[in-house]
């Protein structure tokens, strides 16, 4: 185990940022700390880096007790959401900073900086000032700067949060490839579940200062431990008292079919490759079903049709704590916001 966090607690005044958190972060992998804003994930990252001190608990990095160590002695690389560039220094000098502090020879530094600039594709930009780079380039510079000192762990705090959607997606892919090349133990904080699911080997879901679940992206998506994880990782709809994913529901129109919950189609919306079908069950519950375009065509269903809703076998469900009766309004709302959540959530 590379980073071992045991029983860490942290308060800011009355606000409990972390409440007895224990996590083991494996060596050489890419781990995401995922959760809503203000949930404590950044605080945990800053505690690992030594930028914040835990009130209680222990932090071990590669078997060394780091609880009381200052950030200078932890040998971690830290990348900030807003780049934290050294504005008065050129890109080269930014990247070289950690090496200069470590008093490496001039030749060593030059060679290493060249290597890193090539790694982050900033070879031609070495003599520029950070202000002359785009956001994405600045963040790559920050990453090279953090990697320069060959850190034991690389920590990234919402690294793509300040970038626009397109650049964010590019950098996300690029970070994944970079990690496959460099293999340094990496922890990154994000509130974007799509980013976590796409990039991470392992996800730690943190909410209100507690760890909700730890697992691989598949684990979390297919076997959510509770309602929070279920809701946070993707769109949900409610059928009876179960929370399910709208794309795990199937519709049938066969007259002789007795299985499933009967209802009537109230709305069909097509969004690109997927179609959302709104169904009111005979019990008066509004359910959203997501079908692919082809499934919808094959079904040939239209508004007003009688249908039956069934859950696909082995689909993840969690029991909802919200009463079924109050569901209709809140559920459709929930789904609408969950669908757009990837791009609209802000910290």
């Amino acid at each position: 185990m590379s980073i071992e966090i045991s029983n860490v607690g942290k308060r800011f005044g009355d606000f409990v940022a972390l409440d007895d958190v224990s996590v083991n972060i494996p060596s050489g992998r890419l781990t995401a700390l995922l959760g809503p804003s203000g949930g404590g994930k950044s605080t945990l990252l800053r505690i690992i880096a030594g930028l914040e001190r835990a009130d209680t608990g222990r932090v071990e990095i590669e078997g060394v007790d780091a609880t009381g160590l200052p950030p200078q002695k932890r040998n971690v690389g830290f990348v900030f959401q807003h780049y934290a560039a050294f504005k008065h220094l050129s890109v080269r000098r930014n990247v070289a900073f950690g090496l200069e502090i470590r008093k490496r020879s001039k030749d060593d530094i030059r060679r290493r900086v060249d290597e890193l600039l090539a790694l982050v594709h900033l070879e031609q930009f070495g003599d520029r000032l950070p202000a002359q780079l785009s956001g994405g380039q600045r963040q790559r510079m920050a990453l090279a700067r953090a990697l320069a000192v060959e850190p034991t762990v690389l920590l990234l705090d919402e690294p793509f949060g300040a970038l626009d959607a397109k650049v964010r997606k590019e950098l996300r892919d690029w970070l994944r490839r970079l990690h496959d090349e460099v293999h340094v133990t990496t922890v990154f904080v994000t509130h974007d579940q799509e980013e976590a699911l796409e990039v991470a080997d392992e996800i730690v879901v943190i909410n209100e200062g507690r760890v909700e679940q730890i697992g691989s992206p598949d684990d979390l998506y297919d076997r959510p431990a509770n309602e929070f994880v279920m809701r946070f990782l993707g769109p949900v709809t409610q059928l009876g008292d179960q929370l399910v994913r709208p794309h795990d529901l199937q519709l049938s129109t066969g007259a002789g079919d007795r299985a499933g919950v009967p209802g009537r189609v109230t709305r069909v919306t097509r969004v690109g490759f997927e179609s959302r079908v709104g169904v009111i069950t005979d019990d008066g519950q509004a359910v959203t079903v997501t079908l692919t375009r082809n499934e919808l065509l094959a079904l040939g269903t239209e508004v007003g049709d009688e249908v039956r809703i069934r859950l696909a076998p082995e689909s993840p469900t969690t029991t909802s704590t919200t009463p079924a009766q109050s569901a209709p309004v809140s559920l459709t709302k929930k789904f609408a916001s969950a669908g757009g959540a990837n791009l609209t959530q802000t910290s």
Partner: protein, 282 residues
């Protein structure tokens, strides 16, 4: 502004983007005209007049005046003390600004207001305060009247706010994450201060230092009571100028004024050059 960043093929360099000048429109031409007239009336013409007056006695006359033993002593004392005071202010002003921005303590708001007292106080009142506190009847038992320390102290008193007030807003705006980044890269607090914080503060420190020096060189009211104005010992340039005028010798007064002017200009230029260097070096 950002044209250079949009052209990736250009060889990279530290060049600042050049802002293209716009041709003057009628309105902006009027604006420029008003600004120039104003500036000329208030600054350029009086300065030129001083230089002209000083040169009336010819180069020899000018040189004789400023190398006059007593006059040279006042200039040496004034400039030397002003430089020393500016150095002290660079350290203390930055320190006070740091404390005001970064630390939380009881009485911070009060200190915040008190810093400006030397600005607000009429200098002769400051002189009176200093005289009653450090004069012959000092309640503290410290008598520095008629010594050069009195000059030094008076300069310190009136120039205190300059660097504090120029550095404070810059320090407050500094990106503290850059400091955290430096720390996680292994930089000690001192290294971080020297290599990351100081370069960002230097322009503000330089600006404050220039103001502080200029103010000290021209100071009169606050020291005239305590210093005793003893020729060759505690007489400063401004006092010397006044006595020249009183002795109906405006040429001599203007000559001293021109010397002070030249020195102030030189100091401002040197500070600007230094400031650019420190910023680049990091």
């Amino acid at each position: 502004m950002t044209t250079t960043t949009l052209v990736p093929d250009l060889p990279a360099g530290n060049r600042r983007p050049v802002r293209a000048g716009r041709p003057l429109t009628r309105v902006s031409g009027l604006g420029l005209g008003v600004a120039m007239v104003w500036f000329s009336l208030l600054v350029l013409i009086p300065l030129a007049a001083v230089v002209v007056t000083a040169s009336e006695g010819g180069w020899d006359g000018f040189w004789r005046t400023v190398t006059n033993e007593q006059t040279a002593a006042t200039i040496r004392l004034t400039v030397g003390t002003a430089l020393l005071v500016t150095l002290v202010n660079i350290v203390m002003g930055t320190l006070i600004a740091w404390v005001l921005v970064r630390d939380r303590f009881f009485g911070k708001r009060a200190l915040e207001v008190l810093i400006d007292v030397p600005f607000a106080l009429p200098t002769i009142v400051a002189g009176l305060v200093l005289l009653s506190l450090y004069g012959p009847d000092s309640p503290l038992g410290v008598n520095i009247a008629n010594t050069r320390i009195a000059v030094f102290l008076a300069f310190l008193f009136v120039t205190l706010p300059f660097i504090v007030r120029t550095v404070q807003p810059v320090l407050a705006e500094l990106d503290q994450e850059a400091e955290e980044a430096a720390a996680s890269l292994g930089a000690s607090r001192f290294s971080t201060f020297r290599r990351i914080i100081l370069p960002s503060l230097t322009p503000a420190i330089a600006a404050g230092a220039a103001l502080s020096f200029a103010r000290a060189v021209g100071e009169y009211g606050s020291l005239v009571l305590l210093s005793g104005n003893l020729p060759m010992r505690t007489e400063v340039a401004s006092v010397r100028i006044l006595s020249s005028i009183e002795n109906d010798n405006p040429d001599s007064a203007a000559a001293v004024a021109v010397v002070l002017l030249a020195i102030s200009l030189a100091v401002i230029v040197v500070l600007d050059v230094l400031q650019r260097r420190v910023m680049r070096r990091g």
